[in-house]
């Protein structure tokens, strides 16, 4: 899943506008990932072992926060 998130970030990252890329990743994951997958990756991130690119990391942080707020 970490690889998937990084891959999404890489494909949506073009040009200098990083916030656009992050928004793109957030939107993409929200549309296509099951919340259960988010839970799982959140757990993995908390172990500190997830090697995420900056964009993927920031996007996921935002999504996980959203998810926790909703619960």
């Amino acid at each position: 899943m970490v690889a998937m998130a990084n891959q999404i970030a890489k494909n949506l990252d073009y040009g200098s506008d990083k916030s656009k890329a992050i928004a793109g990743v957030v939107d993409h994951i929200r549309r296509f990932w099951s919340p259960l997958m988010l839970d799982e990756i959140a757990e993995f991130i908390s172990t500190g072992e997830a090697e995420l690119s900056t964009i993927a990391e920031q996007a996921l942080a935002q999504l996980i926060e959203e998810r926790q707020a909703a619960e």
Partner: protein, 956 residues
């Protein structure tokens, strides 16, 4: 009884093909006045006036040839007796088709034919349905003055090499209809008339047997033959049919319409329907001949259950199977949660069946864990086209290609995978359209009789996006784009962004040359050719979608089409060539975990409410698991139960080791299929499926055409597939009560705007309907995006090239890419159970002579193929069809384990697996791989367990 069910009669033939013209001419035939389009031949004009002129060499599916001289007529003011099949009708013409003089001449002609023809009519297979017989009757032939003992061909030997038809030259009248059918309809040019005069005869290729010749066994010649010379073997053994039913082929995304010619509940033969709008009376070997699997002895027709996959199967009643399944699934849900089970829909099943499975999952299971095998072939199309143009489907009808001037074929092999459309495309190419092929392999289209690609951009596998960007770069940097079109139809800001991105020097053909391996000069020339064509059309296949950048490539294709103004009319467009018959339909029907039917996201409140009202349940607003996620969750112990309809996930999904681990960890796997497929070997419940001959429903082909599938025989297992889903839903406590699939279609129409106007009544009336079909387009929509795009303005999306993580290394220096071939169909569960095995009895690995030599591999050697995921062994075909550094195989046979080698890499946006690129090593071996040996053992074990289900119960 609908119009589709008819007493058997040979379809009426008008003698010559239809002509379209704005001008018409009026003539008189035997005193009857008739107006026809200018250019129409006299024979057809007469037929339109209801007068049938005798003929043997003419047919309305072929260009006239004028050889038999039976269709002679008298025309006022004309000399002699012109042939009506080659004479054009003209204004004021007066034609006489019957008088004593004509009758005499015709009788003489027939007499000559019959003197060289065996008179065994009573025992001839086409007795009762033979044009020669009919003509002898029509001209009143009573005697043959030359006697029957003169020189003749009665001793000529039959050619029975083809498993599906027989060639009996003694009955040939050398009318050359077969030769013309092979050229004009099929485009293979396998047949010729050898010799002259009395010596002349039909020959396949260089006087070879049909099987050894170029013949691809499409059957067009058999259908065209007016005598018993070329005859289907099924007709020879079964005799003449008595009724016909119109239905749709269940093999590929062309969706050919067929007349099933029946004798009671038995199919005598399948004849492509002349009125079929996708195929116009043509078909390929699969649809026409390979229907024997439906009654194959391996079919399982009784439900079976077992507690563990190492237990023997036990045949049970439907009730017991349903109780067992429902109890298991409910047990799993109460132990592991609502989200611990899911369902897989099949792109081989009908729209109605697919719709019902996703409904069962969303409403009955209470989650969104539904996915389809289309994931593994076409989800990138949905994503890419939806985000740029606004609709997840191809933009054209197949006929559109007949108006194209430049055709670009990307990662598709239409002559093999979509043969009937391939033939249509070839016809257009012979008429002069130019052809650009983007493919790592030298596919048949690149060079075949009378067709040669103008450019074959033979790129390295995995570099599609780099190449499409380079093509766009040429268009923009040389000012070849359609400025007015872009301004009028597309979002300007997005266009400007895209323009700046594409014009970046990194996207120039020169910089991309080292990435793609394609000479920059060729890229430039191909781009100029495509941009300059009045109508440029793009066709693409799995070679586009099955990559880590599949979705990006689809967007790149849409970008190029928009930039060159090639969308929204006939002759242009972006056209995915779908693999299986109902990939389009399965996607339309809400088979993806994030989308309700009609491609509407589950988070869309308005849509969800609509479904909640109709279904009487609350629906979940967040996406469920996709197939790969299900497998991951299964391995992690969170996902425990699956209902799989008509799909072989164990074989068609990549990385077999991972899939096997997932499947063995399930507590309840329910498989509904015709055969004990690979997935069923991991199942606890087996529910007998029904073939397309045993059920009613609809399929939707690659051009969005919804075509009816009609039941011609009772289901062997007792239920149609949709009925089985309904039983399971009821057993699970979610009530369903449909009495016919038409009611399911009515529900789909109520809930899905693009299907609003679709109904079985309308399908019966129109034959087929291309969606969208609604108040604005009452009879459907052949061409999409005509005045504006579905999403309003077209959206250019940025498509940066990101190299796949799958790279060659010292350890794995070759790239493996996969594909399919004509006579077999995807994982081949059906075709492997037909005579199509004659052409393809094992998967082979194609390797370039240079790579083979380095490894000491020779033709037909066993070759080990190893990737980081696994290894398998295949037989070698040393050939220059592949480039050095690339090896190629098909995956039709489970034991070849092509997917043991493919990895879990996938498309970034949709997780469509990257089948097309795997880094491997190849080496010579002497025995099967470990995996193959284990596979053999497991298969043997499962077959033993199946046998026990059939063995009589032991008396204790």
């Amino acid at each position: 009884m609908t119009d589709s069910y008819k007493t058997y009669r040979r379809p009426h033939d008008l003698g010559t093909p239809e002509v379209t013209s704005d001008n018409s001419v009026t003539l008189t035939v035997d005193g009857k006045e008739v107006s026809v389009p200018k250019g129409t031949k006299v024979i057809r004009a007469a037929a339109l006036a209801g007068i049938n002129i005798p003929r043997l060499c003419a047919s309305d599916s072929l260009e006239p040839f004028g050889s038999c001289r039976l269709c002679l007529v008298e025309i006022d003011g004309a000399k002699g007796l012109p042939a009506s099949c080659t004479t054009e009708a003209s204004e004021g013409m007066k034609v006489t088709t019957q008088n004593d003089r004509l009758a005499d001449v015709r009788r003489n002609v027939m007499e000559l034919y019959i003197s060289d023809h065996p008179l065994d009519c009573l025992t001839c297979p086409t007795n009762g349905d033979c044009e020669l017989q009919d003509m002898a009757g029509a001209v009143g032939l009573r005697d043959v003055r030359y006697g029957y003992a003169g020189e003749n061909h009665l001793e000529a030997e039959k050619d029975k090499s083809n498993p599906y038809f027989t060639f009996d030259p003694s009955k040939c009248i050398v009318c050359s209809r077969c030769v013309r059918a092979c050229e004009e309809v099929q485009g293979t040019f396998a047949l010729t008339i050898d010799g002259r005069g009395f010596e002349s005869k039909v020959a396949a290729s260089q006087d070879q047997s049909f099987l050894d010749s170029e013949c691809v066994s499409c059957g067009a010649c058999v259908q065209a033959c007016p005598t018993a010379t070329l005859t289907e073997n099924s007709l020879i053994s079964k005799g003449q049919p008595e009724h016909t039913v119109i239905t749709t082929c269940a093999y590929c995304g062309v969706g050919c319409s067929f007349r099933a010619e029946m004798k009671g509940e038995e199919v005598v033969r399948m004849i492509p329907n002349k009125d079929g709008k996708a195929n116009h009376g043509h078909s390929c070997v699969k649809g026409r001949f390979a229907f024997g699997y439906a009654t194959h002895k391996d079919r399982i027709t009784k439900p079976m259950i077992r507690d563990s996959i190492h237990d023997p199967w036990k045949e049970v009643s439907w009730e017991e199977a349903m109780e067992f399944s429902a109890a298991k699934l409910k047990g799993i849900q109460s132990k592991y949660g609502t989200g611990s089970i899911g369902g897989i829909t099949s792109s081989r099943c009908s729209n109605e069946e697919t719709y019902l499975v996703q409904k069962l999952v969303r409403a009955g299971f209470g989650n969104n864990n539904v996915d389809t095998c289309a994931r593994v072939c076409h989800s990138p199309t949905g994503y890419g086209l939806k985000s740029t143009l606004g609709e997840s489907a191809g933009t054209q009808a197949f006929d559109s290609v007949l108006k194209s001037d430049a055709i670009m074929v990307i990662g598709a092999n239409p002559t093999e995978a979509h043969p009937v459309f391939g033939s249509q495309m070839k016809r257009r190419l012979r008429e002069g359209a130019s052809l650009i092929v983007l493919d790592p392999r030298s596919i048949a289209l690149v060079k075949s009789p009378h067709v040669t690609a103008d450019y074959h951009l033979q790129l390295k596998p995995g570099t599609n996006v780099a190449l499409i960007n380079a093509l766009a770069h040429v268009v923009l940097s040389e000012g070849l784009e359609s400025k007015a079109y872009i301004e009028d139809r597309c979002e300007q800001d997005a266009y400007e962004d895209w323009r700046a991105f594409i014009l970046d020097e990194i996207n120039s053909p020169e910089s991309m040359e080292s990435v793609t391996g394609v000479p920059s000069g060729d890229i430039r020339a191909a781009a100029r050719l495509f941009a300059a064509a009045p109508n440029g059309a793009i066709y693409y296949g799995l070679g586009v979608s099955e990559h880590s950048q599949g979705s990006t490539m689809v967007m790149g294709i849409a970008n190029l089409a928009m930039a060159t103004g090639n969308l929204g009319r006939e002759g242009v467009g972006v056209n995915p060539l779908r693999g299986q018959n109902n990939v389009q339909g399965a996607c339309d029907m809400g088979s993806f975990p994030h989308e309700l039917p009609g491609y509407r996201h589950v988070s869309d409140e308005v849509t969800r409410t609509l479904f909640e009202k109709e279904w009487g349940v609350d629906l979940i607003p967040t996406p469920g698991f996709r197939i790969p996620n299900m497998f991951d969750a299964a391995v992690a112990g969170q996902f425990k139960g699956m209902y799989v309809q008509g799909e072989d996930v164990a074989q068609s999904d990549p990385d077999t080791h991972h899939v096997t681990a997932a499947l063995t960890s399930l507590e309840c796997m329910i498989v509904q299929d015709l055969f004990l497929n690979e997935t069923a070997k991991f199942a606890h419940v087996f529910l007998p499926g029904s073939s397309f001959l045993e059920k009613n429903g609809t399929f939707t082909n690659a051009e969005r055409r919804i075509s009816p599938v009609r039941k011609v025989m009772e289901p062997l297992g007792g239920y149609e597939d949709w009925e089985v889903t309904q039983l399971l839903a009821n057993a699970m406590g979610y009530p369903m009560d449909y009495s016919h699939p038409s009611e399911i279609m009515d529900e789909i129409a109520r809930l899905t705007p693009t299907f609003k106007g679709v109904s079985y009544d309308k399908l019966d009336k129109l034959g087929a309907i291309q969606w969208p079909c609604n108040d604005k387009a009452v009879e459907g929509t052949p061409t999409m995006h005509v005045d504006e795009f579905v999403r309003g303005k077209g959206l250019f999306r940025l498509t940066p090239y990101v190299a796949t993580d799958e790279r060659t290394t010292r350890k794995y220096p070759l790239i493996l890419t996969t594909g399919r071939i004509l006579s077999q169909y995807n994982v081949g569960a059906q075709t492997r159970r037909t005579e199509n095995m004659t052409w393809h009895d094992e998967d082979i690995i194609e390797i370039h002579p240079h790579d083979a030599e380095q490894r000491g591999i020779e033709q037909d050697d066993w070759v080990g193929i190893k990737s980081r995921a696994g290894e398998t062994v295949l037989r070698a075909d040393v050939t220059e069809r592949v480039q050095p550094g690339v090896v190629y195989t098909t995956f039709h046979h489970p034991e070849s384990g092509a997917n043991v080698v493919t990895t879990d890499n996938s498309d970034w946006a949709t997780n469509c697996p990257e089948y097309k690129v795997t880094a491997v090593q190849a080496y010579k071996v002497t025995q099967l791989s470990d995996w193959q040996q284990e596979f053999e053992e497991f298969t043997q074990e499962q077959l033993e367990l199946l046998k026990k289900a059939k063995a009589p119960a032991q008396v204790i």
